[in-house]
Symmetry: D3
Subunit: 269 residues, 6 copies
């Protein structure tokens, strides 16, 4: 029998949209997959441990991470919300994860960052990981925070991070913008695999997108990961036929961040 | 029956070399294709309207463009000539097209620009759309002018342009330089399709080349168009066998602009 | 009598080290200077209003900022501390300032950021405001957060910020590193003046340093502010005579962030 | 007696605003200064020749330039106008100057270009001569044309040009924008002197501004000219006192091109 | 019968590891392949000439190169050694080759350079041919020397060079680092073919690697060669299964130069 | 009495042109200045030791450097010569210096490099230390070698170097090119002082020029040295009056390297 790469691998946010998708896909990577979420996740299956945990609770996070070798950090709030809620879940939660990881000797975290860190670039801008961030929401700001914190821990303590700026990871694109930002589940899995098993990553930013025809993001600064997406949103071209309606009826195509970057949908606290 | 993207689409220069190639290929994009040229174009076929028109005639251009939703601007002189002729056909003609487009509310123009805007780069230079232009002829200067005018109309009025810097669009490459600059007719059509139907383009420069082995131009600044050429000049490799004759017998390979950039062929006015 | 530029100008952190220095210097800029701090500031003098206020208290901040036209945001913790303390004072405090400013129509904030946003660059690196941040402490991460939040408010709401990345603002340099990072009080005042009164700043990052011989930071991306420092640390050259001791006895000269970036001084929570 | 550098030096546009200023200042540079304009210039003084000439008249330009060794090309329309007028004066006129210069062996032209070639950059953009042009007017487009033509003649024929992108050359700044773009007459003269007498210039773009506190333009790509402005608009600071009115009452400060770039002042043909 | 591109083509270092691989592969390119080495190479086969020659012997090199049209310069020491040995074989040897080539009118040399010219970049750095060199050994320094000498001969005399920075050219990758640096023999041959027969190369640097998943080097500055590798180390993925051992057991993956860049293996003279 | 920074400081090439100039100027920096040259240097004065030494003699160099704390390496051939001579004096000589420095624990070397490392750039090119080298002579290639060797020793062993690319260090400029490249003796001394006493330099390249009006080189990548030249060649403007002779009578102004880069003066071996 083949040895699995990890003994214990933690997935936070396991009850979330992507968490559910990943639950089975990551099993081959660890003897035990630890699944955590603030929500109930039901029964543990074979090879799983389930821990209901509020990431804003520092002591609980320390306990959660005992014996863990690597973390897929998908926990937190994944859309716009009040600043206070975002701060507890995404800022304090992530700080607790990193401090525990450092104290317990975890060597690598894959952090689920977001395109909303650069959501205010326009669709005619083609950027790479060296572009200054332009977040489009409190949510986006919190993801910038997570990246900065990860950079700090790498420079200071040697704890490595791949920050995966996820585009739109759904079964298929639902609007024209997602034709650009789409990340298939298979490619998401491959991005995580590359991020976990590359020999040395330091602090690396990887844009999470499939091999779509249109691209806003250049992954050459992450060429050392060897991530090669296999899917393309072009298989869904027929859903969005050619049209001379300028600009697109869904104006969200103006910015990388889509609707997040439109003034009228700003969060009303 | 499927609705076509445009009601009226104008192709200028329809009697020219590329105009003739495009005439049938663009029909699926509009209920009525308006074909204009200073030369006679014979009878209109179904779904066409034919207008003989000198683009230097401002009033005629205004009339030509009534009801038009988008323009493929291929009109003008397509090779070197006296400055005076170039000025009338390419500078004044293009100015008339843009002013009419603005006044009539046309939203997008695909402008047939040329590699001769950058013809004085050398074949060891690899440039993108941000490189300063280095025209190699009055013709090349007039194409720079068209691009600048398009930039102005975009910044000022919101009229969008894709400037397609066409390499060498012929049935097949005729010399070593065209192995680099070749743009197959199918890829030309695809470049136009992407330019017309991308959701938002602002002022975009796209180098018009197929997926050839050797490349002088980097289209990453137009990644938002999603143009993916399908042909390659490598299918014609056997026409140009390996040879140790340095430099190539046809010295035009020295510059991007080929023979246009050679001193001895300067236009004698 | 000359009219002052503002009716009400807010200085947060007015009881802090730089707050005390600025208290009198900013008086010519407003009819009323509002001074806030979590600490006691004694009696208000003429032309002042004093408000003791915890910036983490959202309602108190809203009240504090009523009628204010511009803010010099120096409040918060200005050195390394526990993450929890930093989060309350610098992250939540800054978020409250920006949200109140937006709601109340304040048009510009000068944010006291820090060189610790880029503290992990080495002393042989010469960077400008486009360099990716490399914070050296929780404190530095919190300043990155403030900059990102400011960027978001600018892109979203039009609220302008100058983020002043202060080097070392003291009466004179105390070690070799400060010969590089020193910002005299007069130059600090001038940097604030330029930041407040430039006609349009959007979101601008300005490195706060005097015209010292050695420089790690390039302010050309803030050339529109017209900040021209008049002092130089070279007046203190005699304090640090030439020496062949490599590296400098005070090893903090290795990193932009000085001692903050040294492993042994990491905050012990 | 000292020999003058040139026998014959041509100044076009000699009756224009700057032409009048330069008339006496350039006398030390040539035995004979040839002054041309479409307008009447009165009597020639000692060391001058006066030629009334429409630059759109090719034959007249050939005659005008006989024996001339270098040209200061200030002729044409210097503000916004109809495209047709701009084309005759600035496009055809400049083409005639260059073709005559080439045919007659003139070796260098200083071309009065303009900041309106880059007028659509914003006041927070700091650009150099490698930035893509963004003209703000037909006038600006015609200056881009002149630069492109000059680039072509240099690459093709070896005729050298310094394109001087003049900011605002007036006795003193008249609004906040001119505090940035101001070029004193002494500095203008020095820029011309450097441009004429540098040993080798190829095709060089020089931004024409004094040593003002605020700068939008970086002249490092013209460092081989050695232009060191001696004046600064800061001597006029008192005309524009500090103010918290954001943005400036004169909104033209938003763009490099000032009022030229504002939609409401677009030329009504 | 087809004419071969060259009459005489020289391969130096023909008895070395890659020399033996190339011996048959390059035969189609020349009527006579001249094979040289300091070691014995046995009998010449048809279409070969064999010359035993010490490249540090200037007169012998002149004789060796008579009638040669192009050179594949693989001679010299191909691993770390004393500086004195490296100097004789790689520095003096290469100088002799270039001087003879210049005197005899050879027009192009393909120089076997090495990734050890940039061996001190880290595996998270993605560099192109414009990156400053960072050699990791005397061997690497000698390859930098060869590139500089080639640059000099190109600028001065017009003798063209492609410097091929070979990664790891072996039958298959032997460690994780070689998964990145691997250059298959077929791709090596193709790189040489492109380098020899491109129409104009000036002084070009090409990184010699196959189309592997992970890449540290960007060949866009050599896009004019049209080199398209067909193999990929991914065919050997199973040799190196996923593992959570950070960093890789073979620490050589830290630097581009692998073990060459590790302090403990420094050459002990 | 003030302590001097070094006990023993070595100056190689002490009998050369610049060596003689520096002999007295460097005395304040060390208790004992060790002066070496292949030529006779006469009697040692107080505070000096004189060692006649061929740098190509490894054992002699080891002996020379015993007890030395820092080196000003000006030894070798300082103009064009046969490759063989250059190799012995500049390549082998420099290798011996570095190996001895490493073995003896010397911490810093200031290496007298040259503008001839970049001599084939044109006078319209403005470059910084990141520009790829383009040597113009065997001499220039040998200086590139020295820089590469220094880079290697820094990355490998921590031995620091400032490579000072000296322009033209003479009492005053002798031709137009030297108006650009001139480095006054006072500024040379200051460049050495900064290079020796900066707290940390790693491997730094500094262009050695005074504060001349025209500049070809940008020292911003060496901003951490704090070198501020005080002289300017403009004091000699009158020696080179304005002239319309294009190009300059002394054609050497075309290239950074001046006459070194002209084909007709290539070294005849």
């Amino acid at each position: 029998m083949m040895t699995k790469p990890f003994k214990r691998l933690l997935l936070t946010g396991a009850a979330g949209g992507l968490g559910k998708i990943l639950r089975d896909r990551i099993k081959p990577w660890a003897d035990v997959v630890v699944l955590s979420d603030i929500a109930d996740m039901g029964e543990a299956r074979e090879g799983e441990e389930i821990v209901q945990c509020d990431l804003a609770d520092k002591a609980a996070v320390m306990k959660l991470m005992e014996g863990v070798e690597a973390v897929l950090h998908f926990g937190g709030i994944s859309t716009e919300n009040t600043f206070e809620n975002i701060m507890q879940a995404n800022i304090l939660g992530t700080a607790n994860i990193y401090e525990a990881a450092h104290k317990l000797g975890v060597k690598r975290i894959v952090f689920a960052s977001s395109n909303h860190t650069v959501g205010f670039y326009r669709n005619t801008d083609y950027i790479d990981a060296g572009a200054v961030t332009r977040p489009d929401s409190f949510y986006g700001v919190s993801k910038c925070f997570g990246e900065q914190l990860a950079s700090y821990y790498w420079d200071r303590t040697g704890l490595e991070t791949v920050a995966l700026r996820i585009g739109s990871s759904f079964p298929e694109p639902n609007d024209r913008r997602m034709m650009v930002t789409w990340l298939s589940y298979d490619d998401l899995e491959e991005a995580l695999r590359r991020s976990l098993f590359a020999t040395r990553v330091g602090f690396t930013i990887l844009f999470g997108m499939s091999n779509n025809d249109v691209a806003w993001w250049d992954n050459s600064k992450a060429a050392h990961l060897g991530y090669k997406p296999k899917d393309s949103s072009s298989q869904f071209d027929a859903k969005f036929p050619d049209s001379g309606d300028y600009p697109a009826p869904n104006a969200s195509v103006t910015y990388h961040g889509g609707a997040f970057a439109l003034a009228e949908v700003r969060y009303k606290a």
